[in-house]
Amino acid sequence: MSIVRKPPSRLADSLAQIGACGIFLFRILGAVPLSLRYLRETVRQVYFVGAMSLVIIMTCGLFVGMVLGLQLYHTLSIFGGTAALGTVVALSLYRELGPVVTALLFAGRAGTSITAEIGLMRATDQLDAMEMMAVDPLAYVVAPRFLAGIIAMPLLACVFNALGILGAHLVGVVWLGLDNGTFWSNMTSSVDVWSDVMTGVWKSLAFGAVCTLIATFQGYTTPPTSEGVAYATTRTVVFSSIATLAIDFVMTAFLM
């Protein structure tokens, strides 16, 4: 982008990147009304970043839930508190692990493909061709992916949480013999819809926006070479992961 002009140092380079990314966010938001004309494209992107990620999200959710069930069962049994297993698993999944792990998987599964796709469009001058045809690439290519990420991420996180609970139930109740009623009744008596379930939904909305912003930004501004696309893809995963975890801390502090 033209904003990154002869940076004097690496620090200034990074700062310029962050600034350019922020400006890019506003350009996307400006293009969102225009992109409503390409609603079908948004639906297609929801399919690609959301529905196609279901398998990995569901598998990982099940295993994370099973591991949580196993680990917490052994820890809680030291204090004779295995009755709290359902509560602890549900709270840690809804509030932290669900949104965060989903965002990390999303960055690896969907973020990289967004970056590579847009990066190759840039490298093969497709984005310029669109502009020549008076089609705004921000509205036609970037904004649908951005919206799709915001739509898909909370839904994926909910699926992840549901599978996680089932995994913990499988380990705690079916295998380790915890009482079924205790597991569910302790969970239902201490988990709240607004302060627990919806906290996770707000978080994953933010993660969806941040991860797709980084992915589209990296793809859109990549140097038009195969090496540039490769670096951009790597940076997408690295920056998305860092941003997810950092924003998670900030949001936890605010939403507590």
Partner: protein, 177 residues
């Protein structure tokens, strides 16, 4: 055309699945799952100390959940806690001389209100007040009493209009269940 159809169906399924998961989480694994009790009636109870009792804590008779704590407010003039208990309409045969006590489930568990049925022929109606109440047992107070050894003052039960039968002679000890 076939391609377009398939991704649209896939997207629809994905969105449905996502919202189904959200609905499942919200209704089956949270406190909303306890709201299906339907109609309830309210009875009031005053406690000098409710300990860690929270809103929506369970109300139990003989260990069975019959309702939940609807509201907790401090009475400005009497300075004790006025707790409203929402009792499920199904349980409308609770004698009106039943006693309420704040207990802890397990050593470190959450606190709940236990109703101990009395023998009166009349039953609680909406808006009635429980006369016999027993406050939450405070571990610190108990320890303090055993350390000091003597009568540490009346900290335990709030007897209201009818004096509690036990509180006269055993004021030094907390009445146990």
């Amino acid at each position: 055309m076939a391609q377009r159809q398939s991704f649209q169906i896939g997207t629809g399924l994905f969105i449905l699945l996502g919202f189904a998961a959200l609905g499942y989480l919200a209704t089956q694994t949270t406190s909303l799952a306890n709201y299906r009790q339907g109609d309830s009636y309210a009875i009031k109870a005053r406690f000098t100390n409710i300990g860690q009792l929270k809103l929506r804590a369970p109300v139990k008779i003989a260990g069975v959940r019959v309702g939940s704590v609807g509201s907790i407010v401090l009475e400005p003039d009497k300075l004790d806690a006025l707790v409203t208990l929402s009792i499920d309409k199904r349980y409308d045969k609770i004698p009106d001389d039943s006693a309420a006590a704040v207990f802890t489930s397990g050593l470190l568990g959450d606190q709940y209100v236990a109703l101990q049925p009395g023998g009166s022929p009349d039953n609680f109606k909406n808006g009635d007040e429980i006369v016999l109440t027993q406050s939450s047992m405070q571990l610190e107070e108990l320890i303090g009493k055993y350390l000091v050894g003597g009568d540490a003052g009346k900290t335990g039960d709030k007897a209201g209009a009818k004096p509690d039968a036990q509180s006269g002679e055993k004021s030094g000890k907390q009445p146990t269940e």
